[in-house]
Symmetry: C2
Subunit: 519 residues, 2 copies
């Protein structure tokens, strides 16, 4: 069999059964082989950043890698921003980048460039497959590297002749990785001593500790010992809602985080990084750990977080019975004109059970997390790497991973315009995604940041660079152009009707909401 087919069979043999793609000529054998490997689902994307973000969303909801198929260095470049977000989410992604045939390299044809160099920016594993016979094994190594732990972006560069030549065979799954190292007893003892010591403690969860039994046990430990429970600012996936542990996320603004952590004497990290400021600001610290606070690592990204938490729970006498549970309840429904708070209240009231919220609502979406805290159980997916343009692609990937759940893409005007092509793929793939497009007509966060970084008061030319008007963007028209039904809501009643209709209708739809900036 040829390389392409062996690659596809290796992928599906290892459980990688979904590929988000934007192929070109050098990937045509891969595309042709799709008809031979029925277990592989392929989702066409019109822009590479959609494919890479979708793979991230898929991995966050399924805990297994998807593949993406990209076209040489420029295709990888277009997909890089959302691979950056995937790297920060520790999402497993197998990025397959087609290249010119090896015999063609020396001619430096138009599309040639140094692909490996670009890939290193985001990848824990980079390999160019140099021989058809080795392609199956190269793919198996990439998949294993992607799976981790920790989950990573693994990039396999696939020259066209390695793909088209005969002599390949699928590679078997390599032996299971060795058990992670045992817990660090000294660390756990110190953490337990801190929790039992009477000083104010914080438990900061991130990564895998933001969902399932892991989150419940971390919450139980905090509750049993009187510690505060925090989540990192932008978790890849946070399980929340009625009946689940309530968790306070650290704020995006350093000043806010400082208030949250004030007085904390011990901060326990559970698959989370020690908190740092998102950006640096003149004269302010980047490290957000309060003066004198001691930081303890309960489990890092390479550790077995569940084993560590079980051991810690035993040391402090915590058990699942201590797990606090969020009460059901939503804010009252407002009426009349829409603003950011009213949109949040409507979403709090209507969010369906099992919803998956892809949150790139930025400033206008600020109140939605609060308003949905007591909504039926749902998942919350955040902008892990700060590279905007993630929200719609992650929603696409989450919907492909979870076809029986409603996905809500909480999206902002500026952010949506990096990857609006995701709408078309949602329609093509029949994804149940409701986009709530919060249109305030500006890069509002930058108006705030301009002041916070201590820049001089902005003149008209600076303000012009933060303004999304002249001409106004019309997201209803944009979405319809991508083949997705769309409508505009200007009152609470219209938004309620539009959301109810969208949640009840299979497939994607977009609801544009005009809101004044909160800043």
């Amino acid at each position: 069999m040829n390389g392409a087919r062996a690659l596809l069979e290796t992928l599906v043999g290892h459980g990688v059964d979904t590929c988000f793609m934007n192929p070109g000529t050098s990937e045509m054998h891969f595309v042709a082989a799709l008809d031979d490997v029925a277990k592989m689902r392929s989702v066409l994307c019109l822009f590479e950043g959609v494919a890479t973000g979708a793979a991230d969303g898929f991995a966050r909801m399924s805990s297994r890698p998807a593949a993406v198929l990209l076209h040489l260095g420029p295709g990888l470049g277009n997909g890089l921003a959302n691979l950056h977000n995937a790297r920060r989410a520790r999402s497993p992604v197998v990025a397959i980048v087609g290249d010119h045939a090896t015999v063609h390299w020396k001619y430096d044809a138009q599309l040639q460039s140094d692909i490996e160099t670009v890939a290193r920016n985001v990848s824990a594993f980079v390999r160019t497959s140099h021989a058809t016979e080795a392609l199956g094994a190269d793919a198996a190594a990439a998949i294993a590297a992607a799976e981790g732990p920790p989950g990573s972006v693994a990039t396999l560069i696939l020259p066209a002749d390695v793909s088209w030549s005969e002599g390949a065979s699928p590679a078997p799954r390599p032996p299971v990785a060795p058990t992670p190292p045992a817990t660090d007893d000294a660390q756990l003892d110190a953490a337990a001593a801190a929790l039992r010591g009477g000083s104010p403690c914080g438990v900061l969860v991130g990564g895998r500790a933001c969902s399932g039994k892991t989150l419940e046990l971390a919450a139980a430990i905090a509750a049993a010992t009187g510690a505060k429970l925090f989540a990192e600012t932008f978790p890849a996936r946070l399980e929340r809602g009625a009946g689940r542990p309530p968790v306070e996320r650290l704020g995006y603004l350093a000043e806010f985080t400082a208030m949250q952590l004030e007085g904390t004497a011990h901060l326990l990290l559970v698959d989370a990084k020690s908190p740092v400021s998102f950006f640096a600001y003149p004269g302010r610290p980047s490290d957000l750990v309060p003066e004198g606070c001691q930081v303890h690592t309960v489990a890092g990204p390479d550790d077995d977080v569940d084993t560590a938490l079980v051991a810690l729970a035993e040391l402090v006498g915590a058990s699942p019975v201590h797990t606090p549970r969020q009460q059901a309840g939503t804010p009252g429904m407002p009426s009349g004109a829409l603003d950011a708070a009213a949109v949040a209240a409507v979403l709090g009231a209507l969010l369906p059970e099992g919803a998956i919220v892809s949150d790139e609502g930025n400033t206008s979406g600020l109140f939605v997390a609060g308003a949905t805290a007591g909504s039926p159980p749902h998942d919350w997916l955040c902008l892990t790497g700060g590279a905007i343009g993630q929200g719609l692609p992650v929603a696409l990937g989450a919907a492909v991973a979870c076809p029986d759940r409603r996905v809500v893409a909480l999206e902002a005007d500026g952010s949506s315009l990096y990857t609006p092509q995701a709408w078309w793929s949602m329609a093509r793939a029949g994804c149940d995604v409701t986009t709530v497009l919060l249109n305030n007509g500006s890069y509002a966060v930058l108006n705030m940041e301009l002041d916070r970084v201590g820049a001089e008061p902005p003149g008209p030319r600076a303000k012009d660079m933060l303004d999304l008007g002249r001409p106004d963007l019309d997201f209803v028209s944009l979405a319809r152009g991508m083949g997705v039904p769309a409508e505009r809501a200007t009152t609470v009643e219209e938004l309620t009707t539009a959301l109810a209709r969208s949640f009840a209708t299979p497939g994607p739809s977009v609801v544009e909401v005009l809101v004044p900036s909160i800043l």
Copy 2:
């Protein structure tokens, strides 16, 4: 003064007076300084690939660099594909990539990544500015590197604290680069001997030899000696039309180029690469120079091409009087239903004098170059690096560089969807750009390539990955969503009316044309 202001003053002091930007928090001081440096024109782009492609288009038409302002590694990633095209066009571009403050690096905050690594993929010059006092000089070095020769992408990485700190000063223009090396007399003698020797010769122009007096002299040399004149497949800028030298471009398909060059005994390269196949194909050669043909380099990218051509003309007795001139004349106007040939004929008949055509029409645009050969004089800008998504941004940049000329973006459905955000910037900047959007509902070129690379006959799942239907894309709606007037033409008469209206109306507009695939 702070670093940002010194950087802006250095840029405008060196003639870099236009910046295409998509800034974020780390670039806020640069943005704030725009009000202090009135000579800098800033053009906001909603996606980084628009900014980088626009800088390329600007450079092609003005022969001087524009700056782009991008936000950390992900912003550079989003701009990489069109920087790749700019590199292949040898366009001078000063890419300024904002970074976290140097004091923030060690915290590995969410947006942090290795920016220099990514930049090397496209840049002849990469430098991170480490001190405010050095920023002016760093910027001057970047500008000089961008200007070349040859024109290059120069990337200056700008940490936020280097930008916001005081103590900077603008750097003066460095001394002019030394004169390029003298011509290689032995090479020129050999080229002249070949031209005079009676065997079939070809003169292949590229780069700077595709416009102005340089093109005219190359054409005169070919005409005076009976050599055939060819241009490279995808010139950055080709001057053509009535009264200018007619030039045959080498074909995209290797088979076609082979026919064009068949029997050529000597091929003279004038700022052009020796021809190679765009992609490799199983069992076919990548090198397109005919067997036994001798290749002579008259001038390479680092050479003074005009001096070389003057010397060669003297050796072979050619003078400007020999320059052939294209006769004026356009195909007759068809009527009724539209197909690719009819669209080409209409454009041939209506193309305004001084038009600038940004050609990313791909398969559906194939006949337009032929139909406009005798149209009034115009410029033709090609997809130099093969990374689709260039056409609309290059049109934007060309229009900013040449506000008194009509730009025609000849665009295909698939290609346009990598960078449709360019339409909004055209409207914001008041650019006279007419987009002719050729919608055939598929990645048509891939249907052809799938067969040419020798893949198995495609099944339904493979074909699905090349099809842009389900749902159909509506480019009128998309363009209107970006704030640009748009209409759809289904007959020759409608297209004629729509183009006439667009050419007569200031600002951008989009005409969508539904055409059957030519394949």
